[in-house]
Symmetry: C2
Subunit: 545 residues, 2 copies
């Protein structure tokens, strides 16, 4: 008979999971042993934070991710990464070992316990869409299936706690209870589709703003069909960047209010029919609310609700609506002139010329190919990357809404394990690198080959224009020595354009290990996008004091 | 008129705080600016986790600590360090910036937000003894005082959230509401003291087990007076180690059930009157419940309750009880023979002989002086350190109950800033070092001088005897190169006894920067204490599968 542990591993495998990230600890050791014997690969990171971010990135590329940690001392270290997965809709299964059910009687002071035994559950109830403590072998299968179904349906993290004396308990497999969403009322769907079709067909200049939910719910191909059927131009947001390949002729660029390219902003904001599909209307995503999108000319569809102009169709969601729209007789337009990302200019390095952010990204844009995935950390790495031209779908990742710092290096581990065809190009500020950059150790241990660029501007460059002080300074590390310290990888110091050129070419040839480029930038240099954004942010910080 | 920010800073200063640890972020920048202009020093760490641990250690040495972070992306990163502070009674003030009150209307998607605006508050309500969102200038002073008073009274963390538009709001200072605990019923106290005095005086072989609360509540001198007045021998626990200077003639050693020294275990367990003062009866602290302490011959006093044999005096707490006991006419005993830590043996290094854990700690024991504080991370670093002889009070720190891994290096920052007379001797496993060891960067930036020993046994050595697998392995780093990477500090590779001797002597002379010793140990070498403990733990892990 199967154990609870075997059953959970089998269900994870059936959901497509092949790697589980984490740090072992005694309450979780039994489950680690069973993972180790299974078809899943355990990826133990330096710190639980790294495991949480790697699992989130794995989920974004692969559809579902998993992180396994021990009770409290492990669990609370992934509170932040789970919060990010919740905020940005990344379905991560958080699996935590915990004290055995039979150890909990008379409430003893077992190690790692904070207050009551259910404290970790209470915290994760806040940070997940479904949670279960598997404390009864009779209901274990049903509970595991209920929780995994919620992750798949809502594309958000879930929590499974395994008391250590339940791991090997035998189960009786049960059919999972159906947890399908009720199909929408067909009459309501028809009314909404008819209204939408009429509104789009009557419009002079409709625009699609393609949001990140299209990616999360596997609707990228449906989007592509809609664009190609109608010839309506399409913009992405910072969070959804690469939801459509950016070489597509109808692709406009990233729309981000005043932070984005001017021609995209102008084109979108002068549209008479905005089709917002699965878009997060968040502040940074929309250029700190410098976006001007008029609800009276918008169709706004998400996984949770659908609105046309000022009225709402409750219960109509993205999937059904988008497939419905493809069945309507939406008219095909002539492909008129619209903005399009400029093709990468050839980069001619000037010997001895100091690196700048602008020139760096000009060069990197030409470096991208069909097998490069760009992973941008919070900060100018992310803002400057907004205008890179990404070749194929799902080749850009960034925490553009939750904006937790230190995501990119551990994320690259999850990305490359989820899709070994891709080579990560990791863009990370020095502040972010000092948080989690040593997870390169894990990348090296598992034979991964990211090219990591540390945008080294001697501190928290995004904060300096808002409010500066010694608290934005960091100790200057010699990042290029890290490969030597780790015993693998290749390091480069890049202060000039010709050094960049040489390092990138060497990195491209070096396909068997990671490369780390320390890009020396002026402390006050920043990308045009960040320049615009920090001016908007600084106004807010000052206004609110 | 003062602002809320000025008032909070003034109250922190009045409570003795001189350093605030954290990582800045835009919601907290206004408060960082005000901190920067104040008499407090801001210590910005590489990652928020480091700040949380540093603040916890500062609180243990100094009486109160503070960590300041931004909303959610910062806050959730200190969830684990706050949980540890709660579990081990370390009073840390968690101060978080957050979206302004006026920004929250109509629930917009501001960056860093997970779900609702109060989600961080809800999580920290679980992890602290008091919390407040300072959203009203009228009540701000009262709320700040209420929360700080709770930290002082319960010696546990508290949470203060500052919406960014409240930071500069003017306040009207108010008297803080009295939050003194009710004094205990005098008749109850007299009854308890009389019973206790009779029980102790009648005993043939009473023993004091001095717990960590004596340290937290500033009762170390009272303990010393009790010992010197009565000549009753005293043991510490792992968590309370150094609650009394270990050269004191009546000091027995660390009592930890089967994990501790045999002579201490035998002496304590054969006592006919156990006086447990402020002791945590937790599993690791008591050798995974291998301790045999009979309630029928115990007097058990904590900050929360007092029991004599099987009955309880509700409301009688440690402070009043201990001072009461000192006023009674407890008889002075003849100081009979009792176990005592062996004086450190002189260490004669054998040239070329491979390092072992046993020999390492033999040497380190002789290395300690009056100005050394030992900070031991979770793992064999902690267990092996149990039998070191600490010269003075509060010169040993370790998370012996909550046992979060990665505490020691960031803790050393808090300790040395709290008491610059002390030089930290940091004992940390390679697994723990890979989590947070790069916070040496922060130590270097603030001119601190820890001597850090990485007990390098190529993985999670504490787990191997419980259950081994590739998940206990780590990439082998060349730790001794880290000073070169950071541009400061001195690194040593130590594989033999003579190399240890040379490195320690060089480290003692090197008083202007940190030293990092990579101690190469066999993967399966461990201290006698860990040997005993992991046998007990392995039995439990196996029994519960």
């Amino acid at each position: 008979m199967k154990s609870i542990s075997d059953y959970l591993i089998q269900r994870l495998y059936a959901h497509g999971i092949r790697h589980v990230f984490g740090v072992p600890g005694d309450y979780a050791l039994g489950f680690y042993r069973d993972l180790d014997r299974s078809r899943l690969t355990v990826v133990n990171t330096c710190d639980e934070q790294g495991a949480g971010f790697a699992a989130d990135a794995y989920a974004r590329v692969h559809g579902l991710g998993a992180v396994c940690i021990t009770y409290c001392v492990g669990g609370f270290k992934v509170a932040n990464t789970t919060a990010q997965a919740f905020a940005e809709k990344s379905p991560v299964v958080v699996i935590s070992g915990s004290p055995g059910v039979r150890e909990r009687t008379r409430n003893p002071l077992l190690h790692h316990k904070v207050r009551d035994f259910d404290i970790q559950l209470k915290v994760f109830e806040q940070l997940t869409v479904a949670s279960a403590v598997i404390d009864d072998a009779q209901t274990a299968c049903g509970e595991i299936n209920r929780v995994l179904a919620a992750a798949t349906r809502y594309k958000r993290p879930v929590y499974i706690e395994l008391p250590r004396d339940m791991i090997s308990a035998p189960i009786t497999p049960t059919r999972s209870a159906s947890s399908e969403a009720e199909p929408p009322d067909p009459a309501m769907l028809e009314e909404a589709l008819a209204e939408t079709q009429a509104m789009i067909d009557a419009a002079r200049k409709p625009v699609i703003i393609a949001g990140v939910e299209l990616h999360r719910f596997g609707l990228q191909d449906a989007l592509l069909r809609l664009v190609e059927k109608t010839n309506i131009p399409v913009a992405a947001t910072l969070l959804s960047k690469s939801v459509i390949g950016e070489l597509h002729p109808r692709y406009l660029g990233v729309y981000a209010g005043a932070m984005g390219r001017k021609d995209v902003q102008h084109y979108v904001e002068s549209s008479d029919c905005l089709i917002l599909l699965g878009t997060f209307m968040s502040d940074i995503n929309l250029g700190i609310f410098t976006a001007h999108l008029e609800p009276g000319r918008s169709i706004y569809v998400t996984s949770e609700r659908t609105s046309v102009r000022h009225h709402t169709y409750p219960g109509l969601t993205l999937d059904g609506f988008l497939h419905g729209l493809l069945r309507t007789g939406l008219r095909r337009r002539k492909a008129g002139p619209s903005p399009h990302p400029k093709p990468p200019a050839p980069f001619r390095p000037v010997r001895g010329k100091r690196m700048t952010v602008r020139r760096l990204f000009q060069r990197l844009n030409a470096f991208l190919d069909d097998d490069t995935v760009v992973i941008a950390d919070t900060g100018d790495a992310m803002f400057a990357a907004a205008d890179m031209t990404i070749h194929s779908q799902t080749e850009f990742l960034s925490p553009a809404y939750y904006t937790s710092v230190g995501y990119a290096v551990p994320a690259s581990i999850g990305v490359q394990l989820a899709n070994p065809r891709l080579r990560p190009l990791v863009l990370v500020g020095d502040g972010a690198f000092q948080m989690t950059g040593l997870e390169l150790s894990t990348a090296a241990r598992f034979g991964l080959t990211p090219i990591v660029l540390v945008l080294n501007n001697a501190g928290y460059g995004t904060e300096r224009p808002m409010m500066d002080g010694a608290f934005n300074d960091l100790l200057p590390w010699t990042y290029s020595l890290i490969p030597q310290m780790l015993g693998t990888g290749v390091g480069f110091d890049v202060a000039t354009e010709d050094q960049l050129e040489a390092a990138l070419q060497a990195a491209r040839r070096q396909t068997d290990t990671f490369c780390l480029l320390d890009i020396h930038l002026d402390a006050h240099d920043r990308s045009p996008a960040l320049q615009r954004l920090t001016e908007a942010l600084a106004k807010r910080v000052r206004a609110r004091q």
